[in-house]
């Protein structure tokens, strides 16, 4: 039966091609729309996650209390062992040790004397290991305005505005000057590899990015890190999984009052994040619901149209003596098949488009040429498990429903009238 119907569908373009195209496009739009909404809603906190909170964050209890002050003196020690342990216990998470710190950059003149100085916020992140995903999180390749990415621990990225203010170019040396983890003087020489602009005035005002190993050396933080950020390998925050992992980790820590014991928090635990996330999720759900409803209505309509299209054909079949019930059942069967094929191809198409937009992103920067907002300039879709089935609701159900409704007409047709009808 299925093979027969399939043959019919494949050979009779009237019966199948138009509905198939419509369903495919409709389902693809639904999947894309859903992924897009997820992406746009997620964007509200993607930036926070990438720059500051991670999906999960491990730090010392003392550091957690004073996060805002970038207290390197309260950093985690034994960070590589801890990172390894975390990686082994939670393989679904990509762990990224980082150091956030403050200090001063001193630019020398030709005699090596102080020419100019400026305060900076520093980020020591894994720039150099082959598999690192940190540069992407900081959007560095896109943010690079001059020069290139650092190739070793002696090279740094400066924010462009800061570099311009001090008339510094890629290739120029500078000295970082600050406090080590113990509070001693931190001195470290770097070369400017390139300059970046993030689009956030606060950050662009004065920041520099170096490799984690350089940060550890400069700040005398051998095997230490201010914080270890965890990111779901999927790229997207899973609140429930995050909470589970956090509970597991924290309960495995010995109870006590050691203020330097590691503690894990999820992105939701950061001030205000939980509410914000619930809120954006709710808005996202409403949008998705509207989408699915709209698409269902359209495909229902397509089903109706499909039934109408074959008015003549059913007449002939009735005239030939085919049973009404049989025609109706075959109509539904075909609708199911077309809906299924359309949903599969539509989902594939939608996922393909969504995947493309997730990887490449859609540059909406044209609307705001001169500026370069950190994240919003490139909006990305976010593919989630839902995208694999959501298109089937309108694709399969609506199509079938539409056909079933319009197919009712089959029963209304009078065999005696048929020839008259067909002659006309």
């Amino acid at each position: 039966m299925i093979r027969f119907l399939l043959k019919g569908i494949l050979h009779d373009r009237h019966r199948s091609l138009m509905p198939l195209i419509v369903i495919t496009i409709g389902v693809a739009l639904t999947v894309l729309g859903h992924a897009w909404i997820q992406g746009v809603m997620g964007e509200a906190y993607t930036m926070s996650a990438h720059f500051a909170t991670g999906h999960l964050k491990v730090m010392t209890r003392a550091y957690a209390d004073e996060q805002g002050q970038m207290p390197v003196d309260l950093a985690l020690t034994g960070s590589s062992g801890l990172t390894e342990r975390l990686a082994a216990e939670m393989p679904e998470i990509d762990w990224a040790p980082r150091i956030r710190f403050g200090g001063l950059i001193d630019f020398p003149d030709s005699a090596g004397e102080t020419r100019a100085q400026g305060p900076v916020a520093g980020y020591a992140i894994d720039l150099l290991s082959p598999a690192t995903r940190e540069p992407g999180r900081f959007n560095l390749p896109e943010a690079l305005l001059s020069g290139r990415m650092p190739r070793d621990a002696r090279e740094a990225l400066l924010t462009h505005d800061f570099a311009e203010k001090f008339a510094v170019q890629p290739g120029d040396p500078f000295t970082f000057f600050g406090s080590t983890m113990e509070g001693s003087l931190a001195f470290y020489n770097f070369t400017v590899a390139g300059t970046v602009r993030f689009g956030s005035e606060v950050l662009d005002h004065g920041a520099f990015i170096i490799d984690l190993t350089a940060g550890q050396q400069a700040l005398a933080m051998q095997d230490a890190a201010g914080e270890i950020l965890g990111f779901f390998r999927s790229g997207y925050f899973d609140a429930r999984a995050a909470q589970r992992l956090t509970d597991r980790f924290n309960s495995s820590q010995p109870a006590g009052t050691d203020e330097f014991a590691p503690v894990m928090i999820t992105m939701r635990d950061q001030e205000g994040m939980a509410q914000l996330m619930d809120y954006t999720n709710a808005i996202g759900s409403i949008m998705v619901l509207l989408f699915v409803v709209a698409m269902s209505v359209v495909l229902w309509n397509t089903g109706l149209i499909g039934g109408l299209r074959r008015h003549g054909e059913f007449g002939v079949r009735l005239a030939l003596g085919e049973e009404k019930g049989h025609i109706y059942r075959s109509l539904i069967g075909e609708a199911l098949l077309i809906g299924l094929i359309g949903s599969v191809t539509g989902t594939l198409l939608g996922l393909g488009l969504a995947w493309y937009l997730q990887v490449v992103g859609l540059d909406i920067g044209d609307a705001m040429k001169a500026s370069s907002m950190m994240v919003p300039a490139v909006v990305r879709t976010q593919i989630s498990a839902t995208d694999f089935w959501i298109g089937f609701i309108p694709g399969l159900l609506s199509m079938t429903l539409g056909n079933a409704l319009s197919g009712v007409r089959i029963y209304r047709r009078d065999t005696a009238q048929l020839f008259k009808e067909l002659e006309a």
Binding site: M18, V22, I25, G26, L29, T30, L32, G33, W36, I37, V40, E43, A44, S48, E66, Q69, P119, G199, S200, E201, V202, H205, G206, E271, G272, M273, Q275, L276, D278, Y279, M287, L290, F291, V293, A294, M295, V297, V298, W300, N301, T302, L304, I305, L308, R309, L362, I364, A367, M368, S371, M373, P376, A377, V379
Partner: protein
Amino acid sequence: MLALKLAIRNLLGAGLRTWLTAGVLSIAFVVMVFYQGLLDGWNLHARSTTREWEIGGGQYWHPAYDRFDPFSLQEAHAPLSPQALELAAAGRIVPELITQATAYPDGRMVNLLIRGIPPGQQLLSLPTAALAADSVGIPALIGRRMAASLRLQPGDALLLRWRDRSGVFDAREVTIVGIFRADVPSIDQGQIWLPLATVQEMTGMAGEATLLVSAPDQAPLPLAGWVFKDTDFLLKEFTEVIHSKKAGSSIIYGTMLAIALLAIFDTQVLSIFRRRREIGTYMALGMTRGQVIGLFTVEGAAHSLFALLLASIYGLPLLHWLGTHGISMPEVADATGMTIGDKMLPVYSAGMVLFSVAVVILSTAIVSYLPARRIARLKPTEALRGRAQ
């Protein structure tokens, strides 16, 4: 006119199908209007609140002042000229003196900015009248975010340490006389408001200010020694955010519109296929192909009229309700530093609505026209017999 009448009659005749299509189109339209209204509303609200609470009609900065570099404050202060004093006395400008300080809430150390403002000022919405209280030593005003992060209540004391213009240490307790709720994080986070005269006395900068806030209706004046920053400059980053949000959201309703248009396209293809005889008749009666194409295009485009009708039936009350009740935002939506009210009230401007109507009608007309072009390839004789090539 006849074409339109015919079109409407035909569409009504199609019954459920027409209403389904028009329904989807109307959803797309309502979402489109709502989304744009929401962003416009946010934009308007944020701009007006920031003006009311922080920037007035612009600010005059001391040339050394850099709002992102607290160290610039050491240099960024100057006495008010007689002209500026006159303006201040007339309530045309509000001088602010800003200095760095350290607060010690229960043994912790927190860096913050002390902002001095005349208690009697009327220009900004800050409830500075509370600072006129002389029952407490030094009255201080903070925002709710700051109150939450320092865990302070009205009546609580807070120890501040600062250095005056010559670097002399001073430390005193201030009393929180009020906690204000403002949707503008930049006057709240990391800031504490004290009477201007007190800050001038504390820092040894009598009669000096860091910046001057201009009245909203005050044209920029050439004040010697001060640099005027207009509201566009002060709101630049916010404007960029709104731009990007607009671009991002247009994709959402654009996709929605595409879904609805898909239905119209499908309908058009079918009706042209099913109504060959009718088309043949029109041509036999002397209508040109162009006229017939026009007829069908109008018919397809008429879906948008139904959609607008539907949209005004359920959409108007809905949008109106949303416009008056607003979308309440979570307490902390502004944790990111953006100005967001407790409620986002969409604002629907005539221009925006008309634009949306035009987009819907035009796009519907285009997708109606595309399949109708096939008519041009029909031969009247064949069409009359119900055959299509």
